[in-house]
Amino acid sequence: MPVPQHRDNRLLATLSREALSLIEPALNEEPISQGTVLLEPGEPIRQVYFPQSGMISLVVVTKDGDLIETSTIGREGALGLHRGFGERRSFTRATVQIAGRFLTIAADAFEDIALRSMTVREMIARYTEVLWAEAQQIAACNAVHDASSRLCRWLLQSADRIGGSQLPLTQDFLAQMLGVRRTTVTLLAQELQKKGAIKYSRGRLIILDRKTLERCSCECYRVMQPENLPVMIGVARR
C-alpha cells in the first residue's frame, strides 16, 4: 500500500525529515464527504486530521441551536492537533464543509510522537497560537464589520484553504457561517455577481475576480494571511 504523501498539507510540509519519519508510518488517508461531523462539543479527540484538500469549519453551537463560526481549517492546518499534549475534548463542532482527502492519525499515536519530538511539539504550539489568533480576529470581525465585507473575507479564506476557486457551498451554509438569513446572503451574492467577482449557481460558487473580492473584503483577510501572523513566522521559514 502506498504511503500517503504529506506535501499537500502545508503544516506537515513544514516539518523536518526526522519528525516526518515518525508521523508518516502512522498516517492513514481517507476521503471525507461534505457534512460529516468530525467532532461535537465536549467529545474526546480520538483522531487528528490533516486536510490535503477540502475544508473543516469550527463552530460554536448555542443552546438555541444557532451556529457561530470560530475558524476554518484547510490544508494549511490540522484539526485536533493539541491532542498531542494529552487527552483533550473538543470545544467546538467540527464539520467537513468541503469534501476532500484527509490524512488522519490516531490520537494516542500522535501523543506518543509529540512526546518524542520537540519539532512536533513546536508545530502544535505554533498552530494552536495561529487558531487562537484567528479566533480573536474573527470575533472582532463578526462584531464590527458588515456582512458584505465578511462574506468576501470568508470566500477568499475558503478559496485559500482548499487551494482553488470553486467552492461547493450552499447559501444556507454561508448564511450560517455569517450569522445572517439566507436572503441576506442571496442579495450579497447577487451584488458580487454584478461586480463580476463571483459566479453562483446551483450550490457552486466560483471566484472570478480575486482582486475585486479583496477590495470588497474587510482588513481581516489580510491580517489573517499566514505570512502576516507573527506566530507563523518560525514555521513558515522552516
Binding site: V144, D146, A147, S148, Q171, Q190, E191, K194
Partner: protein
C-alpha cells in the same frame, strides 16, 4: 406557505432575489424584510440609508418597500426633527437612484429602437431583465 421575493435596491440598481423564501403570510414577510434589511445595513448604516428592500409576491408583484433609513437604530438618539430630515433626504436620494435607473433603461430602449430601424442586432439587459426596444 406562500413564496415571497426580496429585491435589494441600491445606487447601482436592483439586485433581484432569484430564489425567494416561503413565509407564513404578509406579516411574516414584513418581519423577514426588516431583519434582512438590518443585516444588510449593519455596520455600514450611513452608506446605506437610501437603500430599499422591496418585497414581492410569488408573481413578483411589489407588495411593499422598506427604506433602510427608517430602520436605522444608530439614529435613535437624534432629535425627531433631525431624524425626519435624514429620512426625507434618504428617500429623495432613493428617488434619484430610481430616476437614474429609469433614464438608463430609456437610453437602452432608444438605442434598441435605432438599431431596429437600421436592422442591426441589439441586445441589452438591466438587472437581469431584457430591455425591449
Amino acid at each position: 406557505m406562500p413564496l415571497y421575493y426580496f429585491n435589494l435596491k441600491d445606487v447601482q440598481g436592483t439586485h433581484v432575489d432569484p430564489d425567494g423564501t416561503l413565509l407564513r403570510d404578509d406579516s411574516a414577510a414584513l418581519d423577514h424584510a426588516r431583519q434582512v434589511a438590518q443585516e444588510l445595513m449593519q455596520h455600514r448604516e450611513a452608506r446605506t440609508r437610501s437603500w430599499r428592500l422591496q418585497a414581492c409576491d410569488a408573481d413578483r408583484r411589489a407588495l411593499f418597500e422598506l427604506l433602510f433609513a427608517t430602520l436605522d437604530h444608530t439614529m435613535n438618539a437624534l432629535p425627531p426633527a433631525l431624524r425626519h430630515d435624514v429620512e426625507t433626504t434618504s428617500a429623495r436620494t432613493a428617488g434619484l437612484s430610481d430616476a437614474i435607473s429609469n433614464i438608463r433603461t430609456t437610453l437602452h430602449q432608444i438605442r434598441g429602437t435605432l438599431a431596429k430601424s437600421e436592422r442591426s442586432p441589439y441586445l441589452a439587459a438591466l438587472d437581469g431583465e431584457r430591455v425591449e426596444p
